[in-house]
């Protein structure tokens, strides 16, 4: 492993030599990464590299066989997901994971960890970011468009005063114009929260990302500043095929 990037402040999230199995399959075989405070860290890699598995392991939906995950210096691996997220982590899963039979409003309310006034105060900000959600507040979430579902999923993670957002492939299956809107919204959010992002769309990843980690075959193979990767055509071609 090359040395970790250090940019002053200690990392909010630290993942060290993570090994995760799904059934018999050894999916993560040594993933390490750090998410700097107030930065957007992007996980890159081909399909099947272990990006989603890394996210699911961090949030506790998968149990790591070995390795460590520390959030604000506190070990969180091995805890159940409902305890992990309560330390201040919002999760936007691949495929959005919205509750289709619930209304938009109910999706947001169920996401509030305790329907506190603080969470309610965040709603206007969320509706300013995603006006469509306010318009369709009483509609069943299943009737929303793909882009609106993604916005709802992100809004749901943002409704709590979280310190870290884990966002897994938000652009997947969305039209370019919708992706632009998402990028704009995430740009606005990144000033308020640290983001760990999995993104296949390199344009989006480079527009948002500060740091990057490259996974290949379940291992961290490269990392650095996003601006450097944008110009490193050899590396991009080798691991991303772009």
């Amino acid at each position: 492993m090359p040395p970790e990037p250090t940019h002053g402040s200690p990392p909010l999230l630290e993942v060290e030599d993570l090994h995760t199995y799904i059934g018999q399959h050894h999916i993560l075989q040594g993933v390490s990464l750090r998410a700097r405070r107030d930065a957007v860290t992007v996980i890159l890699g081909r399909n099947g590299a272990g990006k989603t598995t890394t996210m699911r392991t961090i949030v506790g939906l998968l149990r790591p066989r070995a390795g460590a995950i520390r959030f604000e210096g506190r070990p969180i691996h091995g805890l159940p997901p409902y305890e992990i997220v309560r330390f201040g982590i919002g999760f936007v899963p691949e495929g959005q994971g919205i509750f289709a039979t619930l209304t938009v409003d109910e999706n947001l309310r169920v996401a509030m960890r305790d329907e506190s006034p603080e969470s309610r105060d965040r709603l206007p900000r969320i509706f300013a970011l995603f006006p469509a959600l306010e318009r369709f507040r009483q509609a069943r979430a299943g009737t929303l468009s793909g882009g609106q579902k993604q916005m709802l999923s992100i809004a749901r993670a943002f409704v709590n005063p979280n310190r870290l957002l884990l966002i897994d492939e938000p652009s997947k299956g969305l039209a370019p114009i919708i992706v632009e809107h998402l990028v704009a919204a995430l740009q606005e959010m990144k000033s308020q929260v640290t983001v760990l992002l999995v993104e296949q769309n390199f344009a989006m990843a480079s527009a948002l990302g500060d740091d990057f980690y490259l996974l290949d075959d379940g291992r961290t193979v490269h990392h650095g500043r996003m601006v450097d990767l944008v110009h490193d055509h050899a590396l991009k071609k080798r691991y991303l095929g772009v």
Binding site: G60, P80, P93, V110
Partner: protein
């Protein structure tokens, strides 16, 4: 329109028998059918929560029903032997006896439900075959316990005086106890519906039923909620048990198994997870049974199966099913 269709169909079914009988018979049969439907709904309501919402094929639901009936029976017997609360011509004492029997049955069932969920059901969430096997096994154990404690034979359930007999309203005979069942059924329906749609617990449960992983990733320990839902479903089974015991004026160790079949039919007809669907399904079963038993007695048993087949052919997810 999609939601109106089942109601229209039910309404058509409701007036159709009027063509074959005089109005007075029709009203009598309708009241009896509604009452029977509500009694079935009381049993099915708990199953709607456990099977319809949580997707647990809980065959032990019938055994919890029996336990509820027996606990209610013991309480009623005790109160009547000590103080004569059933035979006293006092509405207050009679109602108190029913309330005490129901309360005791529900408390015991909550304990039983928590035990079942924690020990037996939790390891097999999402695995239907295991659920069937292990809850059938639990049924045998729970029913045997009844035989050990209360003996294997039928016993006579004391029925409070107020609820015996019938009212004769404009030449229509209305049995008293079924009216109590109808009132209780409506209360239970409103209670569950309000709990699920108007409270935060209901919201979390509905979300957790749809996506168990995501609700945990939002910070909710869904298994704690599922334990409570399971306990509530068991309590409703016990309520159904006490009511059914009073309706049939007897308790038997195997009484739950017979009702369980009706309950499953009703939950499936109504659409998994829909309380309104279960209510409608129970009323359809109760009414059609009574109409058909009068018109073509031999077909009465088969009619419920025929209705289930017909409804599932027309609407594979049931009357109010979301088709998940």
């Amino acid at each position: 329109m999609r939601r109106a269709a089942p109601i229209l169909a039910a309404a058509a079914l409701f007036v159709l028998p009027l063509a074959f009988m005089d109005a007075r018979t029709y009203v009598t049969l309708t009241v009896a059918g509604l009452a029977m439907g509500m009694l079935i709904f009381l049993v099915a309501a708990g199953l709607t929560l456990i099977f319809g919402l949580m997707d647990v094929l809980n065959f032990a639901h019938g055994a919890v029903f029996s336990w509820g009936a027996y606990v209610g029976f013991s309480v009623a017997l005790l109160l009547n032997q000590r103080w004569g609360w059933a035979t006293a011509p006092s509405v207050t004492l009679n109602v108190l006896l029913l309330a005490a029997a129901i309360l005791a049955a529900m408390v015991v069932a909550v304990g039983l439900g928590i035990l079942l969920e924690r020990v037996i059901v939790r390891p097999v969430y999402g695995r239907h075959m295991f659920q069937i096997l292990i809850t059938l096994g639990a049924t045998i154990v729970i029913e045997e316990l009844i035989r050990m404690i209360w003996g294997p034979n039928d016993q006579v359930m004391p029925v409070p005086l107020t609820f015996q007999g019938s009212w004769d309203i404009a030449d229509v005979i209305v049995l008293r106890f079924p009216v109590v069942a109808i009132v209780l059924g409506v209360l239970v329906y409103l209670g569950i519906t309000l709990l699920l749609t108007r409270t935060r617990v209901g919201l979390i449960v509905r979300a957790g039923v749809e996506n168990r992983e995501m609700i945990q990733a939002l910070g909710h320990n869904i298994y704690r909620y599922f334990t409570r839902v399971f306990a509530a479903g068991s309590a409703l089974a016990a309520l159904g048990g006490v009511m059914w015991a009073m309706f049939s004026q007897s308790v038997r160790p195997a009484m739950g198994g017979e009702q369980l079949i009706f309950a499953f039919i009703v939950v499936i007809i109504g659409g998994l997870g829909s309380v309104t669907g279960s209510l409608l399904g129970a009323l359809i079963v109760g009414l059609s049974y009574n109409y058909v038993a009068f018109l073509v007695p031999k077909a009465a048993i088969g009619i419920n199966m025929a209705i289930m087949v017909l409804i599932l052919l027309l609407r594979p997810t049931g009357l109010f099913g979301s088709g998940k």
